[in-house]
């Protein structure tokens, strides 16, 4: 009764109450929406954090092959070490036969856990379906549940030595294109001794060769390169000739020489003409070597020629050498 009485006395109260109720309902709806968005955002943030941690673990996961052998049943026997800070879970083993064409790719399921610093052996021995064929080249993959892939070549490829390796198709860097020697003398129509050639003679003797660079890098021929000329008649002649820039007659035989500071560079697959002459250094330059026999009075039919080229490869300071031995034939003009 009191309530009705009060109610009946305050006509404005009921409208306010209804309005306030709806306002509260609207506020509750807004709060519910706010709580929902907070929850959804929290879940999203937690997922992002989880995946960030997963990515971090993935980056830190490290697995190294220790050895790969085959069992008596021609299955793989892989030993790996977990060198990372977390436990590794191997889930797939991939074996690719690279020898067959097209390659075959087989995956076998794994379920092996490896703790940090621990070594797991016998991987593949029970899980593989196919057999390893001797003589085939395989690529082996180990896949972890974090998505990391560790790859190994079996049998392991031999590591290339860093030292210089000659090209397989040649015995050395150079091959000889041709060889000849020229001899001019207005005073000595017969073969002469090199020592008999003087500055006043109109004669000189020079050996010309053409060599090709068959290597894949530029080769620099040094001035210490030389040639030995061994004549077989009587076994008496074995003069040594040195690489020179040119031998020419211009009033008197003139020699201009190379030295190591003035080398000859031959680019890959290019050829270079080289000249050799009997010479030696003296105080004012270069002169003919005295007392060295070019070839004997009795002209032989053949001679053994040994060209010794001293060079560096591709700008390397390491000095290399190659001999080009061959038998020369004297031809009548």
């Amino acid at each position: 009764m009191w309530f009705i009485g009060k109610f009946s006395r305050d006509e404005r109260g009921i409208g306010s109450l209804v309005g306030a109720a709806f306002l509260i309902l609207i506020l509750l709806s807004g709060f519910a929406f706010y709580m929902l968005s907070v929850n959804v955002t929290d879940e999203y943030r937690e997922s992002l954090e989880t995946m960030d941690q997963l990515d971090l673990k993935r980056k830190q996961e490290k697995l190294e092959f220790v050895s790969v052998t085959t069992t008596d049943e021609d299955k793989l026997n892989i030993t790996v070490e977990n060198t990372g800070p977390y436990q590794t879970h191997l889930i797939w083993l991939g074996v690719f036969d690279e020898t067959s064409s097209p390659t075959t790719q087989n995956y076998s399921q794994l379920n092996r856990y490896i703790n940090p610093v621990e070594t797991e052996t016998g991987i593949g021995s029970t899980e593989m379906d196919d057999e390893i064929v001797e003589g085939h080249q395989y690529t082996i993959q180990l896949i972890t549940d974090l998505g990391n892939i560790v790859v190994y070549s079996y049998p392991p490829e031999e590591e290339e030595e860093e030292s210089w390796v000659p090209p397989p198709e040649y015995f050395g860097v150079f091959s000889l294109d041709w060889f000849y020697f020229e001899y001019t003398s207005s005073l000595h129509p017969e073969p002469i001794h090199a020592g008999n050639i003087s500055k006043r003679d109109e004669s000189y003797v020079a050996f010309h060769i053409r060599v090709a660079n068959n290597w894949n890098q530029s080769v620099t021929i040094l001035g210490r390169s030389m040639m030995r000329f061994m004549v077989e008649v009587h076994g008496q002649a074995e003069p040594v000739f040195y690489i020179v820039k040119s031998v020419r007659y211009n009033g008197s035989p003139q020699i201009s020489a190379y030295n190591d500071a003035d080398p000859i560079t031959v680019e890959p697959q290019e050829s270079e003409n080289l000249t050799f002459a009997a010479m030696e250094a003296y105080s004012n330059g270069w002169k003919w070597v005295s007392g060295r026999t070019v070839f004997p009075v009795e002209t032989p039919e053949t001679a053994i020629v040994m060209i010794g080229l001293v060079f560096t490869i591709g700008g390397s300071p390491e000095v290399q050498a190659q001999s080009l031995p061959f038998r020369a034939i004297f031809l009548d003009e």
């Binding site: 409208g15 709806s29 955002t41 997922s47 995946m51 995956y107 896949i143 998505g147």
Partner: protein
């Protein structure tokens, strides 16, 4: 008629007036509440949906483990799902060109930790000793790129 209405001091009863007032306020409250409820609900649903999709994409991880070629134009890309959620391969691109002919693997659900082979005909001719960019895209938009040397 109108003059007599204004002159007539007897009005409608207080009870009826109160009821009318309550009805008006209630109606206005219902309309406002319904509108706000709809607004909050649709905005909340949209937000929840967008965030949910983003969350699912964030939990998705895939990696191409191998590429196989039959020496013609048929390619087979093996993909690992290492995420926390199942995924579906939707599209493959070779050197930026979308693959249109799939023979296997596309649209199939790949459970977490599983491999799937997606087989398709390359939209660009494959040549020896060339390198190709292969992109695999999931339905949620996650992708993995590999540079495959033939």
């Amino acid at each position: 008629m109108l003059g007599s209405f204004w002159r007539d001091k007897r009005g409608i009863s207080e009870v009826i007036a109160s009821l009318i007032l309550i009805l008006v306020v209630s109606a206005a409250g219902v309309i406002l509440y319904t509108y706000s409820l709809n607004t909050f609900s649709s905005t909340g649903s949209s937000f929840q949906l967008r965030t949910g999709l983003r969350e699912e994409q964030a939990r998705e991880r895939l990696v191409i483990t191998a590429v196989w070629w039959d020496t013609s134009d048929l390619l087979n890309v093996t993909v690992l799902n290492y995420g926390k959620i199942d995924l579906v391969i939707d599209t493959v691109y070779i050197d930026g060109t979308r693959v249109s002919e799939y023979s296997d693997g596309r649209g199939e659900v790949v459970r977490t930790g599983e491999l799937i082979s997606v087989k398709f005909t390359s939209p660009v001719p494959i040549e020896d000793e060339q390198t190709y960019e292969i992109i695999v895209v999931s339905e949620r938009g996650s992708k993995n790129v590999v540079y495959w040397e033939v």
